[in-house]
């Protein structure tokens, strides 16, 4: 018995070794072929190579999904060769950035402020490659950051909410209490008070960008305090707020994407078009006109930020008033107290 078992084990061992050795042998050939192929392909027409790194999953239906959409738009518009890596933890960022840079990618995006430090470290090692931190804060010879003009959308959605409320209580369900978020919270309150001095604004922070049940609870708490318009300043958890508003018969305002298809309660949405940011940055990178600075994209920059069309529930005079204010702002006749 033992001998048979031993024989079996030995045989397996031999197979294993054979497999491993065989693997190693054929691999090296494979790899050489791969490497010699790549430069040849590049020499042909040299397409722009653009890579993207996200910290979360690209199918989150929100922030990271918008990055992938933008990347696909870049592929379409510029005929670029694209690649991306999702779920990059902080501890892998440098290594992933380096790997892309070594692969000869021309432009590498890090989708989130967390990529700022890693980009600053790695960019210096690859002067030929352009690195862009979206919502980041670093800049240098070959690395740049982009930001939205946070606060713009808060003001105009705040106006809309202030004009639409009948109970004079409006709510905001925001994700986390970070400066990029509070900038819009502050202007939302300003905008609402501007058109309706009696309005009371309730603000709750969910503490996460994804927690749908908690977002719904926060919305319900605000609705129980008579709020009848709620701005949801997250993205993935919007649906929870919409459900709460549907149950209570209140209005809601969406964020980042046009979410009017998700619920009838949505009267408008504050749109942040990451796609415009990506396309603009790639265009400038291609033309070689990027300056080492933090770019701010707002309503005046190719509609990087805008309000989505109002729903039929919004009376014409409210629409006109908000649109007029937006026009004044675009024309420079209205100045907002923006931190960005």
């Amino acid at each position: 018995m033992n001998w048979k078992k031993l024989l079996a084990v030995m045989l397996l061992g031999v197979f294993t070794l054979g497999f491993v050795v065989g693997c190693g042998g054929s691999n090296s050939g494979e790899q050489n072929g791969e490497q010699s192929e790549q430069p040849a392909g590049e020499g042909g027409d040299e397409p722009l190579k653009v890579a993207l790194l996200t910290e979360g999953a690209v199918n989150d239906g929100g922030w990271n999904a918008s990055a992938l959409r933008s990347l696909n738009a870049i592929e379409e518009q510029f005929g670029a060769e694209i690649a991306y890596t999702e779920k990059v933890e902080r501890a892998q960022m440098e290594q992933v950035l380096r790997t892309y840079a070594r692969q000869g990618f021309d432009v590498i995006f890090g989708h989130g402020f967390q990529f700022s430090e890693p980009i600053e470290t790695v960019a210096k090692e690859f002067p030929e490659t352009k690195f862009i931190a979206v919502n980041g804060y670093v800049s240098g010879d070959n690395y740049y950051s982009t930001n939205f003009k946070f606060g713009e959308l808060g003001y105009f959605t705040g106006m809309t909410a202030g004009l639409m409320t009948k109970s004079n209580v409006v709510g905001m369900v925001a994700a986390v209490e970070s400066p990029t978020v509070t900038a819009d919270v502050d202007t939302f309150i300003q905008g609402a008070k501007e058109v309706n001095p009696d309005v009371e604004v309730l603000v709750s922070y969910v503490g996460s960008w994804e927690d749908i049940p908690k977002a719904k609870e926060s919305a319900q708490a605000q609705l129980s305090k008579n709020a009848d318009v709620i701005l949801v300043m997250g993205n993935s958890f919007s649906i929870g707020v919409f459900q709460a508003c549907e149950d209570a018969g209140a209005y809601s305002i969406g964020w980042v994407d046009d979410q009017s298809s998700m619920s009838d309660t949505v009267i408008t949405c504050g749109l942040q078009d990451v796609g415009t940011v990506y396309l603009e940055m790639v265009r400038m990178a291609k033309e070689g006109t990027l300056e080492s600075k933090v770019y701010n994209f707002g309503m005046n920059d190719n509609n990087a930020q805008s309000l989505s069309p109002f729903s039929d529930d919004v009376p014409q005079e409210v629409q006109d008033q908000v649109n007029q204010a937006i026009q004044d702002y675009l024309d420079g006749n209205l100045t907002l107290d923006l931190k960005y």
Binding site: N2, V9, T16, V20, Q31, A83, K87, V96, P179, T180
Partner: protein, 365 residues
């Protein structure tokens, strides 16, 4: 006697080698099917993992950076497991260690590096140890279950650190939820240019040697292993099992704290929310993979580091979805775990050999 001892060593060594090779082979075969299902060439994928993990010094450096926190935390976990106390709380201990090390690291104390850096590291270790002391004390004094305690404390620790990054530890201009950068005087030196490899890995190696010596060569180590294998017997034979458990847990927490401290002081240089997700849990599999032996843990941590870094490269070069990469990593780890615990029948073979040798010896005399 001597020959028998040698057989024993060859037997364990050989059985470990064969089972490791077997496990890797099985893992590669299973993963191949998944990759084929994705329409990717498995051979190319594996060679890319290899290249990306240990292809050149830069890649190996990156692998060691990944391995460093896993190694340090797993050393602590293995130490506690040896004593029979299941510390699942490395995650929280890592976070607290990192937080306190950062806190000392950003204080403008005006101290020279030779004082500031050890001070930051020791604070981190102390923080980890104190966090581990809570479940240890409650287990020993009140009989609480340490597994549940440590898991729950993880949540408290992680969220406490995340909340701190949003409030009092936030950088002065307060734009982003992160701390200021750690001062130059509190950073661990880099070991290699154009890579993140820092001296933390040396701390890991030194720590492994120290723990090995403690476990194998000291009275305390012997006591600890006894308590781990049979606490009642150890107690009745006059050992202080309670004190041993607490000590083991403190050491364990200190190592987890060190893992967090070295990650911030050596690599990330500032503290973010979720700066190192799941490291504490991954370290448990590293500890088990290393068979709770300090030297084994070092090897296992480097193995996982290479696997992770190499898998990243494979993902980038071949466009495999990251989830597939995670599945492959998990299969490899599972196979290694399964096979290292699978006792080969080789032992009987060698025992028979040894018996023959013994009987021959006996006959001769």
């Amino acid at each position: 006697m001597n020959t028998q001892f040698d057989y024993k060593r060859i037997e364990t060594g050989l059985s470990y080698l064969i089972s490791s090779l077997l496990s890797i082979a099985v893992a590669l075969i299973i993963s191949s099917f998944i990759l084929l299902g994705q329409g990717k060439d498995p051979l190319q994928a594996f060679s890319l993992i290899f290249q990306g993990g240990i292809g050149d010094m830069a890649a190996f450096g990156a692998s060691l950076v990944r391995a460093c926190p896993l190694m340090l935390a797993a050393l602590g976990i293995a130490f506690a497991f040896k004593a029979g106390i299941y510390n699942i709380g490395a995650e929280g201990q890592i976070y607290l260690g990192a937080m306190f090390a950062t806190w000392v690291g950003i204080l403008p104390l005006g101290l020279p590096k030779i004082i500031h850096l050890p001070l930051a590291i020791l604070t981190g270790m102390a923080a980890g140890a104190s966090w581990a002391f809570i479940p240890a004390y409650l287990k020993v004094k009140k009989g609480f279950n340490e597994v549940i305690m440590t898991i729950l404390l993880n949540y408290i620790g992680v969220y406490f650190v995340n909340a701190s990054v949003h409030s009092y530890l936030q950088e002065p201009n307060g734009y982003y939820p992160q701390t200021s950068k750690v001062l130059e005087t509190a950073t661990l030196p880099k070991l290699m240019a154009n890579s993140e490899l820092h001296a933390g890995i040396l701390l890991g190696l030194i720590g492994a040697v120290i723990l090995y010596v403690i476990l194998q060569k000291t009275d305390f180590g012997y006591q600890l292993r006894c308590v781990g294998s049979n606490p009642e017997a150890s107690r009745t034979s006059g050992m202080n099992a309670k004190l041993t458990l607490i000590a083991a847990m403190l050491v364990s927490g200190a190592f987890a704290g060190l893992a967090g401290a070295s990650e911030v002081l050596g690599y990330q240089h500032l503290l973010l929310e979720n700066f190192s997700p799941n490291t504490g849990y991954d370290a448990i599999s590293v500890a088990l993979l290393g068979r709770l032996n300090p030297i084994g843990v070092v090897i296992a941590a480097i193995f996982i580091g290479v696997l992770r870094t190499g898998a990243n490269t494979m993902q980038i070069m071949m466009g495999v979805p990251v989830t597939i990469v995670y599945i492959i990593q998990a299969i490899i780890i599972l196979c290694v775990l399964a096979f290292t615990n699978w006792k080969l029948d080789l032992s009987r073979f060698f025992e028979r050999g040894a018996k023959d040798a013994n009987s021959k010896l006996a006959n001769r005399s």
